[in-house]
C-alpha cells in the first residue's frame, strides 16, 4: 500500500498549527503509519510548550524606566505620522488657509523650502532624546575621542566634538541618528541649571550660508548654518542671543573653516 506524501515542512507546520486544513488528513494518515515520526513530533510540541513555560519564568524586568520612556516616545511618534511635515507646514498652512490658497497646492512648493529637513529632525531629536534626564546616552563624555572617531567615520568628514565649557555648557554625550536616510550626529550639552542644549551635525550638503538662521520650532528655538562640509543645527529652549553666542563659539572652533 502507498503512504501519503508529506514533506518535513508540513510536519513542522503541523506542530505549529500552521498547516492548511486540507493537508491535515494527509499528515494524520502519514503519522498513523509511523509511530517514530509521531513520537518525534510529539516531542517537538512538548519542547515548544516547555520552552514557553521556562521563558515565562525568567525575570525580564518589565519595569525599566528608560525603556518605558522610549516606549512612550515611540507611541507619540507613531500616533503623529505627519509630525514632521506638519511641523514644517503648519504655520504657513494656517496663513494660506486664511488666504484661500490651500486648494491650489501652491503651499507645498512655497513651504518646502522654508526649513531644512535636518533642522526639523534636530528639533525632534532634541524633544525625544535631549530633554529627558533618565534617557540613556549611548556615549559618555569620557569617551570623546572615540565619539569623534565614530562620528567622523559615519559622517565621512572629520568631526571634532566641540567643547563649550567656557559658556558653562558641559557635554553629556552623543548619539547617532538619521535624517533623510543620512547619518546625523547629536551632541547633548547641559548647563549648570540642568537645562539641555543639543547640537546636530550632518554632512548633508545644504545650500546654507555661514550665518546663523533662527527658527522657532514649537517651544524650542533652533539655529542652523553651514561650515565647510558640515551642517549644524543647534536646538534649545533659550533666548535668541544665547543661541547666536553659542553658534559663534562653535563656528570659531570648527576646523576646515571656509568653503
Amino acid at each position: 500500500m502507498s503512504l501519503p506524501e508529506v514533506t518535513e515542512a508540513e510536519l513542522q507546520a503541523f506542530v505549529d498549527g500552521q498547516l492548511p486544513a486540507e493537508r491535515c488528513t494527509a499528515v494524520l494518515a502519514y503519522l498513523g503509519q509511523r509511530p517514530a515520526e509521531l513520537k518525534r513530533l510529539a516531542d517537538y510540541a512538548e519542547h515548544k510548550e516547555e520552552l514557553r513555560r521556562r521563558l515565562e519564568n525568567v525575570d525580564l524586568a518589565a519595569d525599566n524606566p528608560a525603556t518605558t520612556e522610549l516606549e512612550r516616545a515611540l507611541a507619540a511618534r507613531l500616533t503623529r505620522p505627519y509630525y514632521s511635515r506638519w511641523l514644517r507646514y503648519a504655520a504657513t498652512v494656517a496663513l494660506l488657509l486664511a488666504a484661500g490658497w490651500i486648494s491650489h497646492g501652491l503651499y507645498q512648493n512655497y513651504v518646502e523650502s522654508r526649513i531644512p529637513e535636518l533642522v526639523i529632525k534636530a528639533a525632534e531629536a532634541h524633544d525625544v532624546f535631549g530633554v529627558d534626564q533618565r534617557r540613556p546616552v549611548e556615549l559618555t563624555a569620557a569617551s570623546m575621542a572615540e565619539m569623534a572617531d565614530w562620528f567622523s567615520n559615519r559622517l565621512g568628514r572629520p568631526v571634532e566634538i566641540p567643547v563649550l565649557s567656557t559658556l558653562g555648557l558641559h557635554l553629556i554625550g552623543g548619539r547617532l541618528l538619521t535624517a533623510d536616510d543620512r547619518p546625523m550626529a547629536q551632541l547633548i550639552y547641559e548647563d549648570e541649571a540642568g537645562q539641555r542644549l543639543t547640537l546636530c551635525l550632518s554632512s548633508e550638503p545644504l545650500e546654507l550660508g555661514e550665518e546663523v538662521e533662527l527658527v522657532e520650532v514649537g517651544d524650542l528655538t533652533a539655529g542652523y548654518w553651514q561650515d565647510g562640509d558640515l551642517t549644524y543645527a543647534l536646538v534649545g529652549d533659550r533666548p535668541d542671543e544665547q543661541l547666536v553666542a553659542i553658534a559663534s563659539e562653535l563656528g570659531a572652533q570648527q576646523p576646515g573653516g571656509r568653503l
Binding site: A9, Q12, A62
Partner: protein, 188 residues
C-alpha cells in the same frame, strides 16, 4: 545675523483613541521583544539594552512604518537587524543564558545534568540562526512568512533552520546525552 525668522507651531490634531491603542499595543509587543532579545542575547541586561536600542531605532525610523502594517513584525525586524548587524553598543560579556536558566534554586551538584536538560539552556546552545527561527515561530507565534521576512531569509531557509533547530533541541533534551561537552554534533 538673525536672518530668516519664521514661527512654527506643533500640529496638535492627534486622535487620543489612536494614541491609546498604540500605547497598549506597544506595551504588549515589548514583552515579546524582551523575550526575543533574551533568546538572542542570552542575558537579561543585554536583552534590555537590545530592546532599548530597538526602540531608539524605531523612533528614528517611525516614518518608515506604514499604517496598517504589523507593528509587531516591524519592531521584531528592527530588533533582528540590529542584532545580526552587530552595530549595537556592546556590553562586556555577562551571565550566559544557561546560567540564568538553572539559577532557580537548584543544587550546584545537579547543575551539569540540568544544564543540558533545561529547555532554555538547550535553546541557548543552538546556532544563532536556528535560535532566531525557533524563537520567532515557537515562542512568538509568528507565521512562517512573517518569521522569514523578519529575518530577511527565504521561506525554505526558515523551514530548514526550524527543522534543524528542533531536532538538535530534541536530541539535547532527550536525556541520552547528559554531559554538555558531548552534545555538539552528538548522536546516540
Amino acid at each position: 545675523m538673525l536672518a530668516a525668522r519664521s514661527s512654527i507651531t506643533y500640529w496638535g490634531a492627534r486622535s487620543a483613541m489612536t494614541g491609546q491603542a498604540v500605547i497598549e499595543q506597544l506595551a504588549e509587543h515589548i514583552g515579546g521583544l524582551r523575550r526575543y532579545a533574551f533568546a538572542l542575547t542570552g542575558s537579561q541586561p543585554e536583552a534590555e539594552d537590545l530592546v532599548q536600542d530597538t526602540l531608539v531605532r524605531a523612533i528614528a525610523a517611525a516614518r518608515s512604518f506604514r499604517a496598517g502594517g504589523s507593528l509587531r513584525a516591524w519592531l521584531f525586524s528592527i530588533m533582528h537587524n540590529l542584532f545580526v548587524s552587530g552595530v549595537r553598543r556592546r556590553r562586556p560579556p555577562v551571565v550566559a543564558l544557561n546560567e540564568e536558566a538553572v539559577a532557580v534554586g537548584q543544587a550546584p551538584a545537579q547543575l551539569i545534568v540540568l544544564e543540558v536538560r533545561d529547555a532554555l539552556a538547550a535553546l541557548a546552545r543552538l546556532p544563532e540562526t536556528q535560535r532566531a527561527a525557533l524563537s520567532l515561530v515557537a515562542l512568538e507565534d509568528f507565521s512562517y512568512e512573517q518569521a522569514a521576512k523578519i529575518q530577511g531569509i527565504p521561506l525554505g531557509t526558515l523551514m530548514s533552520r526550524l527543522a534543524r533547530g528542533r531536532e538538535t533541541l530534541r536530541q539535547t533534551l532527550d536525556g541520552e546525552l547528559r554531559v554538555p561537552l558531548r552534545v555538539i554534533g552528538g548522536k546516540q
